[in-house]
Structure formats: structure tokens, C-alpha cells
């Protein structure tokens, strides 16, 4: 049996207006339900790639075929606003700096995940249905932060804010969750809390995760599969356990040393 990959990226390229070639033709498949981690040096194009997938960045060339068993679409070809909306309903994202609305309550932030399914007029008055609110609360519970629902988002700690961001993304009911260095601005302990919630989302809700990470120890602990970028090109694809010293040098350059966090 050959299940089609949920996302099949072929020859993805991205050149920024200033001429920087951030992606020079990257190809790999993302299998449904996996926890795929993207590693690579700073500037290797990890963020660019994630942001191409949900079209926060415009890819320059290539294909990204999405296939969830019901619809098959090339994400690069999406043009209309409604198609982009459809894409973002299916592909959620969390960021290094959480990107919450600081002055709004936690619950209101989580409800942002329902914006794409709420009419513009209703959303301008902040009217969300009872089901939407119940769902938002459900996901806040899932990330263990329901009691903070009515607190302003900027009053929370970094780890808590990232959990709110996860809840916000879940409220979209996405099939894929992109995570761009979700723990890079957190301390080691909090970092594991957040990673554990991501694993829970992956295993319990079956959401496919594509996650940029810097620390190899985290990669070994959480990833089911790894791809590595270097200078905008794919240099490794495989099992996290088989990244040995030779591979490490290839990805990070000779003389680099691994840093461990526990």
C-alpha cells in the first residue's frame, strides 16, 4: 500500500526581491501524521521554507502538492484570496515570538483561529458562535491553560504564550501545523513543556507537524524524521537517530560542536 504524502514538495525555489536566493530547489515529501523536523544553520532557509508552505512568502518556482486523501492541490498555484484562506485553514502556524495580539485576552487570541470561518462583519464586532468559543476553550484545556482564558495575552510568560499560540492554531482545525523555532526564545525547562504539547497534538490529534529546530537533542527526542537544509539546499533526509558526527559536520560545517540541553 502506498499512501500519498500529505505534502509533496518539488524543486521549491525562493529568491527574495533583494536577490538573496534563500531556497535553491528543495524537494522532499511530508508523510501524513509525522513529526518532521527541519534543521540547518542560521540563514539556511528554514523559515523561508515554512513560510512558503502557508504562503506568507511567495515561492518563486516549484511545486507543493497537498493531498489529504480528499483534495489534491498544488499550493504554489493558489491565487485567489479564497484559496489562500482554504490553505491557511488547513495549515496552521506557530512562531518563535508567538505573534499573539498583546492587548487582547487569551480567549480572544485563540478565537482568531476561527476568523477564516467567520463573516467579516461578525468578526469586526467580535461575535463568535457558542460552538466556536467552546472549541477554543477545549483547545486551551488541551494545552493546560484554560484558567488563563480571560487574562491579557501579554501578561503571560513566554511558554504560556506559545501554548496559547498552539491553541489558536488548533482552533483552525488544521491538518498540518508549521512551527518556526517554537522554543528558541524559551528556557530549557519550558522548552520541553511546549515540545511535549506539540507531540501531544501530533499523536493525539494526528496533526502532521513540520517544525524548525536548532537543538539536536530536541530533534532526537521529538522528531520522527529529519530534513536538513544548508545554503538553501536539502543535504539530509532521514531518521533522527542516524545523524552521526559525519552528518553533523556536513550540515553544520567542520569544527561545529553539538550543544546539549536537557
Amino acid at each position: 500500500m502506498s499512501v500519498k504524502p500529505i505534502l509533496s514538495i518539488k524543486n521549491l525555489q525562493k529568491t527574495y526581491p533583494n536577490g538573496v536566493q534563500a531556497l535553491k530547489g528543495v524537494s522532499f515529501d511530508v508523510k501524513k501524521g509525522e513529526f518532521l523536523v527541519v534543521i540547518g544553520l542560521s540563514g539556511s532557509g528554514k523559515s523561508t521554507m515554512l513560510r512558503c508552505i502557508n504562503r506568507l512568502n511567495e515561492p518563486t518556482a516549484g511545486e507543493m502538492v497537498f493531498n489529504d486523501g480528499k483534495v489534491e492541490k498544488d499550493l504554489v498555484k493558489l491565487e485567489k484570496a479564497t484559496d489562500i484562506k482554504w490553505l491557511r485553514q488547513n495549515v496552521g502556524m506557530i512562531f518563535q515570538h508567538f505573534n499573539l495580539i498583546p492587548r487582547h485576552s487569551v480567549l480572544s487570541n485563540v478565537l482568531m483561529g476561527k476568523l477564516s470561518k467567520t463573516s467579516t462583519l461578525k468578526s469586526l464586532f467580535g461575535i463568535f458562535s457558542d460552538e466556536d468559543i467552546a472549541e477554543a476553550m477545549k483547545y486551551l484545556k488541551l494545552v493546560g491553560i484554560a484558567e488563563k482564558a480571560h487574562i491579557r495575552a501579554d501578561q503571560l510568560s513566554g511558554g504560556q504564550q506559545q501554548r496559547v499560540a498552539i491553541a489558536r492554531a488548533l482552533t483552525q482545525n488544521p491538518q498540518i501545523l508549521l512551527a518556526d523555532e517554537p522554543v528558541a526564545s524559551l528556557d530549557p525547562a519550558t522548552c520541553h513543556v511546549v515540545m511535549d504539547y506539540l507531540r501531544k497534538v501530533n499523536q493525539e490529534l494526528g496533526i502532521t507537524i513540520i517544525c524548525n529546530l536548532h537543538f539536536l537533542s530536541l530533534v532526537r527526542q521529538y522528531a520522527t524524521r529529519v530534513v536538513a537544509l544548508k545554503g538553501g539546499e536539502l543535504v539530509y533526509e532521514g531518521d533522527p537517530k542516524s545523524i552521526d558526527d559525519a552528518w553533523f559536520e556536513k550540515i553544520y560545517g567542520a569544527g561545529a560542536k553539538e550543544v546539549h540541553i536537557n
Partner: protein, 341 residues
């Protein structure tokens, strides 16, 4: 051509042409007829300007720093050689320019110590001051009624300007108006605001007093037009400095443009908006007083009536009332803006 070269040439060209023109007027002492011959004079001035830009260019090539070069040159060209200021060309350029400006303005304003110390005039001013410093408080109720009119005129102008400025501020923010069409709209809006603001509220008041008749309504409309342009510009500058994070966060949830503005941008700009608006009301109260002088209603109109009849004690009362209100508004708006930070 690099824009700093254009700026340097214009500044240097103008200072050169200005000095030449001043010298020429001094030496030739033209008759009225000659002075009013606009075509010839403009042509001569322009010729001098061209010569000036040329001189500026040659001097710069010779590594002599003109005032324009010193002012506009890009940071990487700025040398840190410490030469005493009086040994530099640009310093003398500036000194000659300032001296020239002062001499010409003294002549142009008919500056005269004689008039200032003239006994008749001095006694007249003394009478006026005496009147003003012994205010006639019998007209106080009238003055208060009129200043209330002024305050509400300013308030309504500000309040009516808010919705227009709010909507326009997004249309004229660079980070929202992306793409080619967007850029042109942005440019057109910004130009429109600059034109609207460069026409003084006083001039708008004259226009509207012809249109809707003399009175507070004309004054209010004048202030409103001016406020829309000013607020929209200030608001849109705030929109341009919002942080990208929340915007991307909301966009990644599939929000459309309006939802993004409402949820990611508005919360970031709302406090500065309120602060600008309170300040604008404060400014409008002051402006409304002046606008009253040309028939815009309120306390200004009352002031000009008494002044016309040389009723100085009454004028004194009005000045006191204006001073108190302006001071109070100024304090209140300062406290409110402080609290909003």
C-alpha cells in the same frame, strides 16, 4: 542622480542666487517698475541659481565643502578630520548667508528703533495695556458663553474628523498599500493631505464663511478639514510603525485584509490614536480662537468686535478667559496623553 546631490545643488544654488540678488538690489537700487518686472527678475534669479549650482559642483569637485555638501552628504562621506570651524568653507558660507538674511529682513520689515520709541505710539500702547490690565468683568458671562461655543466648535471638528481620518489612515499607510496600485494610492493620499494641511485653517475658514455664511459652522468646517488631514497623516505614520508579529499571527489563521487590520493593527495603534486626537482637540481650541477673528464665530469673533471699537477693558477680559481655557486644555490633554503612554 543621487538625491543628496540634488539637495546640495538646490541649497547652494539658492544661497548663491540670494546673495547675488541682494547685492544687485543694493547696488542698482531699482525703481518700483523695475522691481515689479517679474519675468526679467525671475529669469535673472534663475540664471544666478544655475551659476550657483555650477559653482557648488566645481567647489565640491575641488574637495571644498560647501554648506549644502556639509549638510546633505551621506554619512559614509563625512570625514572626521578636525579642522577649526573658521578654517572651513562651509562655516563661512553659513555666516555670510545668515548675515545676508538678517540684513535683508531688517530692511524688509522696516525695523525701526525710532518707531518703537516714538512717544505718541508708546502712549497709545500704554493706554491699551492699562485697559487690558483693568478688565471689565461685566462682559464675563458673554465671554464665557462665547468660549463655550469655541470649545464645542473645536470638539465637533475633532469628533467629525476622527472617522474620516481613521479610515484614510490605513489607505495612506505604506505597509498596507502594497503593490503598484497600492503605492500610487498611498502617494496620492499623502500628497492630498500635505496640500490640505498646507492651506491654513484660517484660509479654509474664509472659504467656508463665503460658502455657509459667517459663524461657528464655517469655523467648525475649516477646523474639521484641517484636522482630517493632520490626524490622517499622524495616524498613518503610527500604522507604519506597528510590529509585524501579530499581523502574521492573524494572517496565518486565514484572516482577510479587514480582519487583519481590525485585530492585528488597530489594537496596536488605538492608544496613540486617542492621544493624538486629544492633542488635536487642544490645538483646535487654540485655532478656533484665531479662526473667530475672520468670522468663524466663538470667542475670536467677540474679540475682534471689541478690538474694532478700541474697548480695551473688554478685550482684557476676553484675553483672560482665553488664557485660562487654553492653559486648562493644555494641562488636561498633557495629563491624558501621559496616562495613555
Amino acid at each position: 542622480m543621487k538625491s543628496y546631490v540634488v539637495r546640495r545643488s538646490i541649497l547652494d544654488g539658492f544661497t548663491f542666487a540670494f546673495l547675488i540678488a541682494s547685492l544687485a538690489v543694493w547696488i542698482i537700487n531699482p525703481t518700483d517698475e523695475q522691481a515689479l518686472n517679474m519675468k526679467l527678475n525671475v529669469a535673472l534669479f534663475f540664471a544666478a541659481f544655475i551659476v550657483g549650482t555650477f559653482v557648488s559642483h566645481v567647489l565640491t569637485k575641488m574637495k571644498v565643502t560647501t554648506l549644502g555638501e556639509a549638510l546633505f552628504q551621506p554619512p559614509y562621506k563625512k570625514s572626521v578630520v578636525s579642522v577649526s570651524w573658521y578654517k572651513t568653507f562651509s562655516a563661512w558660507h553659513l555666516i555670510v548667508l545668515l548675515v545676508g538674511l538678517i540684513i535683508v529682513s531688517i530692511i524688509k520689515t522696516k525695523f525701526s528703533i525710532y518707531e518703537l520709541l516714538n512717544e505718541d505710539g508708546f502712549n497709545g500702547a500704554m493706554r491699551l495695556f492699562k485697559g487690558i490690565f483693568s478688565p471689565n468683568f461685566a462682559i464675563l458671562p458673554k465671554a464665557i458663553l462665547n468660549i463655550i461655543e469655541t470649545i464645542f466648535m473645536a470638539f465637533l471638528a475633532t469628533a467629525l474628523a476622527i472617522p474620516f481620518a481613521f479610515v484614510l489612515s490605513f489607505v495612506s499607510a505604506k505597509n498596507i498599500m502594497t503593490g503598484t496600485t497600492g503605492f500610487w494610492i498611498y502617494l496620492a493620499m499623502r500628497t492630498l493631505f500635505n496640500v490640505m494641511r498646507s492651506i491654513e485653517a484660517l484660509v479654509w475658514a474664509i472659504i467656508f464663511s463665503v460658502w455657509v455664511g459667517i459663524g461657528p459652522f464655517a469655523g467648525m468646517l475649516a477646523l474639521m478639514i484641517h484636522s482630517i488631514a493632520s490626524l490622517a497623516k499622524q495616524y498613518s505614520e503610527m500604522v507604519e510603525t506597528v510590529s509585524e508579529g501579530p499581523i502574521e499571527g492573524v494572517q496565518s489563521c486565514g484572516a482577510n485584509k479587514l480582519q487583519t487590520i481590525w485585530y492585528a493593527i488597530v489594537p496596536q495603534v488605538v492608544l496613540p490614536y486617542v492621544s493624538f486626537t486629544v492633542y488635536r482637540w487642544d490645538i483646535n481650541v487654540r485655532m478656533a480662537t484665531i479662526i473667530g477673528l475672520v468670522g468663524g464665530g466663538g470667542i475670536g469673533t467677540l474679540l475682534v468686535q471689541y478690538q474694532g471699537q478700541a474697548m480695551w477693558p473688554e478685550v482684557g477680559t476676553i484675553i483672560v478667559v482665553i488664557a485660562i481655557v487654553v492653559w486648562a486644555m493644555d494641562q488636561a490633554s498633557a495629563y491624558i496623553r501621559e496616562a495613555l503612554k
